[in-house]
Amino acid sequence: MAGHSRTEKRSLVLYALLSSISAIGAASQPWLIGQILEAALESGTARLTWLVSAMAVVIGVGIACNVSRHVVAERVKLRLAADLRVRVGAKAARAASDVAGHTSPAHVATVASSDVERVSSYPVARIRLLSSVLGMAVVVAYMMTISPLLAVLVVVGVPAFIWLTARIAEPLEERQDKHRDSLGTVTALSADISQGLRILRGLRAEGVARARLDIASRATEVAGVRVARIEALLLVSGQLLPGLFLTLLIWVSSHLAASGQLSAASLVTVYAASGYLFLPISAAVDFLGTRSGARVAARRTVQVLDAPVSGWAGSLAPIPSAAVLTDTVTGIRIQPGGLSVVVSGEPESLARRLTALSLESGRLDDTALRDFDLAALRASLRYQGARSTMFSGTVRELLDPRGSHADAELEDVLRVAGADDVVARLDGGLDAQVYADGRSVSGGQRQRLALARALLGGPSYLVLVEPTTALDAATEVKVAARVAEYRKGRTTVVFARGGAFRAVADHQINVDDDAAADQVVAGGRNE
């Protein structure tokens, strides 16, 4: 996922610069420590004062650089994550069905909430590694002035340790993957217990649910411990490897010091500096961890971004407002301008064909639906399925997501759908907040709000699947009559098993799903 914008590049360069300064500062501290200790043994205060002040300045500049680079890094990460989120969001909005078909809502939720963050922490981690290598170069430089032999040891030793660390970290990615998967199962199961609690209690299935969760929970724990073991190993090897290297350094430098080739205080410098060698190694550990997390996350993100989009070739417009709507599979014909009730064993698939939501789609007169311009077609041919899916927001946004209708129109369709009392009861009326999972409104209320949404704007053709199943009989009859009245003159198709819509229908069509398409019984007028 390369390719950052100009601003991000500039920020990353700034981050690299600040990191380098603070790395150089931090790497020069051991030298100053050695010098201060040496000066402490001498007489005279001038050199000591100068060195302590220099150390104070180095610390001060280091803090300033550290804080600013942290702020820059956080901002970069936030912006990158936001950009990526926008891309995921745009894809999800523009090709919702394709994304849903290719992945799952839960997958997209994880991508949008955590995966994008992991991906966007990668560029910064890479620079952090590079800047710590720069710091190492500083250490090598003054090691060179102390003893070339020591410098060679550092140059050879540190990359060797980074390589070793990478080998240790290798299984981490796979283990993290497994852990995430099994954590996903646990989360799904415990969400199940919350959402299906009444059902579980009713069935006395508490034990079964608990046992299933327990199994998944144990598997997650085992996977978690496997990840932790590698992490602990990385943590410790980050100390042990430099520690052993340090022993070697001490041995060599102590020899040098004992034979007078090296001052005793330089010994401390060597020690403190080799402590600094921990940093590139721990930065490498961090980097490898971030990289493996980012890789997994990037794969998951790409899965959403690269979900294949089904094409739409048609461009015919405008849409005829009073054509016969035909299904090519069953052969049923919907006469224009009236309310038709269709009884079918598979209402969803038939309704989706009639509204060009599936590949095998119907026709308007002699023109295949897929030959029309998509936007124009969606504006005049609308489908409302049996699932009354809603989006979080105010009632107004729910009914009119584009914000293109006046309140009077909204109130009109609410009345027709029998939902005026639903809104009246909500605190805030049209501005009341409702939530996607519909926990703030009941099933019947959701269904009526969804019906109102389908009616708004008066599309020329409207296909409804079981729009009133959650309503009581009296309300159902009332709503059916109002819908028929409101839709007069425009084509309305209702898939309904109950009688309420049949009572007010102009046509009734029974589709015999088991028989061949040509055995359709075209219903007469029902009066």
Partner: protein, 577 residues
């Protein structure tokens, strides 16, 4: 008609502390082991700087050093320290995983054990967010934070303590940073909790807007909402970006001070140490060792401060998780003195919602074991109130409700559980074989579409594989009932959303598949009444009539009026019988 949804309690900081203390007691042995092993590891790690100090002193004084011995000691100390640290860290991480698993199981167990009354009244959204986002919020602190805090505390304490042992005078310089760290961290923590909460919730809102769009893909496509949803998503992301600026602002102020607190000790130890060396109050080796110690605590100190900040917001999440365990209370229902031949007895039961008049008045009803009762009445007559009393969700204002065993209430609510279709069914009877599962599906009228699925019983439900329609979900719920064979079954409009044919099939299957169960049905369709042993008519909260369908029809009372109206309406609607 139901009581308004309410939120489960939230446990206070005291309860969170008590739970933490209980966990500490439970794992005292392991904790002691981790701390002890890590303490030894830290001690070993403290040796090299001390030995180095020794070497520096000897060389500075022009005396010789047994180099091979000292270097071997240093190497041994380092290897030992690393080995022990690995052991302690692995144990600590494993302990974190264990504790998190326990908390998760405790939460779900408490949820499953909630009294019926609570189960029916809680807000499902509240429970869901506790089991997902709050669990996530404590996951990191329990799994990583607690182990690192444990290890970090041991490291910092031991190192500073050892510095004082080495030379108390020089070690005084170690404390100079403490006020900076304490004061600035308190300032930060007081503000950070709300700042991070705002950041998290706005980020969750943005992710929610995206996944909602995918979940509602059908509506997005059919209502052509692509552009509108994209706008919503963009706005929520922009809001999240705004909110995320606040914590950064806080950190920008806090970090400089706290880092000063970290770094000042090294500088002060050196300067103050130099003064002490010159006035012969200490050796250069001690100063060198303590300065090196101060550098070595930087990382664990940083971890400690980080987790301290994190623990503030985790405490809030923990309170919400523990709250579920506090939602106790008993199921108040007299199960005694029930006539063994009876499944249900209502003894002069009255009930009122709040201060309004009685919704049910002086209701007397006895249901024999194995009897099929259908409760009918106009909308608002009190049918649902009656079913909630029977289920134990509501308690009577006066009188007594006695039920043998637990009542299984099936209302108009379905949930597809994670896993296969088989998993969804075997919830009701884990040991059921394929034959039993297919029979149950058949009774529920679902065998047809299930047979047509790729994978049959093993198909995964919910996700990408097969998303059942609402009617299919309803049928699965009914199939579960047939598997469960409940003692007393309470159906409240359980067949809503099914076709006439499917409803009739279910009603017939009910008699065949559950011969031993007592069934009480609440219905506005009178189909069920025709098949019931006894029909009970409720009007304005009173039991006005009861008897068999035929007997009541012959009586020309309220039932026959109701039945006539239903027939007429039905014929008017043009139903074909």
């Amino acid at each position: 008609m139901s009581e308004p949804h309410h939120l489960l309690p939230i446990a206070g900081p005291d309860a969170v502390r008590r739970r933490a203390a209980a966990l500490v007691r439970q794992f005292r042995g392991r904790l002691v082991a981790v701390v002890a092993v890590h303490a030894v590891a830290v001690l070993c790690g403290l040796l090299p700087p001390a030995l180095l100090g020794l070497i520096v002193d000897r060389i500075s004084a022009g005396r010789g050093v047994e180099l091979p011995v000292v270097v071997a000691l240093i190497a041994a100390a380092l290897v030992l320290s690393a080995g022990l640290a690995f052991t302690a860290t692995t144990w600590a991480f494993a302990l974190g995983e264990r504790v998190f698993a326990i908390l998760r199981m405790d939460f779900s167990a408490a949820l499953l054990d909630l009294p019926v009354r609570q189960v029916e009244a809680v807000d499902p959204g509240d429970v869901l967010s506790r089991s997902t986002s709050d669990m996530d919020a404590i996951s990191e602190i329990v799994r990583t934070g607690v182990p690192e805090t444990l290890v970090g505390t041991v490291s910092v304490t031991m190192t500073v303590a050892f510095a004082f042992v080495l030379d108390p005078l020089v070690a005084l310089g170690c404390l100079v940073g403490t006020p900076f760290i304490v004061i600035s961290t308190r300032w930060y923590v007081r503000r950070a909790t709300t700042a991070y909460a705002g950041q998290l919730s706005s980020r969750a809102a943005a992710a929610g807007a995206i996944s909602e769009t995918v979940r509602g893909h059908e509506v997005v496509e059919s209502h052509d909402l692509g552009a509108a949803r994209e706008e919503v998503v963009r706005r929520s992301i922009a809001r999240a970006l705004d909110k995320a600026g606040v914590p950064i602002w806080l950190e920008q102020r806090w970090f400089p001070v706290v880092q000063l607190g970290y770094n000042l000790p090294v500088l002060v130890v050196l300067a103050w140490g130099a003064y002490l060396v010159r006035s012969d109050q200490t050796t250069i080796g001690a100063v060198a060792a303590i300065a090196l110690y101060m550098r070595s605590v930087l990382t664990p100190l940083d971890d400690l401060i980080y987790w301290f900040g994190e623990s503030q917001s985790a405490t809030a999440a923990m309170g919400r998780i523990l709250g579920v365990t506090e939602a106790g209370g008993d199921d108040v229902r007299a199960a005694k003195t029930l006539d063994p031949a009876h499944a249900v007895e209502l003894d002069h039961v009255s009930f009122a919602y709040g201060t309004s008049g009685d919704a049910l008045t002086d209701l007397d009803l006895t249901v024999r074991r194995g009897e099929r009762v259908c409760v009918v009445g106009a909308s608002g007559a009190g049918k649902t109130t009656l079913s909630m009393l029977l289920a134990g969700v509501l308690s009577p204002r006066a009188g007594a409700v006695r039920v043998s065993g637990r009542v299984v209430l099936v209302a108009q609510e379905d949930h597809i559980f994670h896993g296969s279709l088989r998993d969804n069914l075997t919830l009701a009877r884990p040991e059921a074989d394929d034959g039993a599962l297919w029979r149950a599906l058949e009774h529920a009228g679902a065998d047809g579409w299930v047979r047509n699925l790729d994978g049959g019983l093993n198909i995964a439900l919910g996700g990408d594989a097969h998303d059942p329609t609402p009617a299919q979900a309803r049928q699965l719920a009914l199939a579960r009932l047939f598997l469960h064979e409940p003692e007393v079954l309470l159906l409240d409009e359980a067949t809503a959303g099914l076709t006439e044919a499917e409803t009739k099939q279910f009603e017939t299957a009910l008699a065949v598949a559950l011969p031993g169960s007592t069934v009480i049905q609440v219905a506005h369709d009178l189909w069920a009444a025709e098949l019931a042993d006894t029909v009970v008519v409720i009007d304005e909260g009173r039991l006005v009539e009861s008897g068999t369908h035929r007997a009541l029809l012959a009586q020309a009372g309220p039932y026959s009026a109701l039945h006539r109206a239903w027939r007429a309406a039905d014929e008017h609607l043009g139903r074909m019988r």
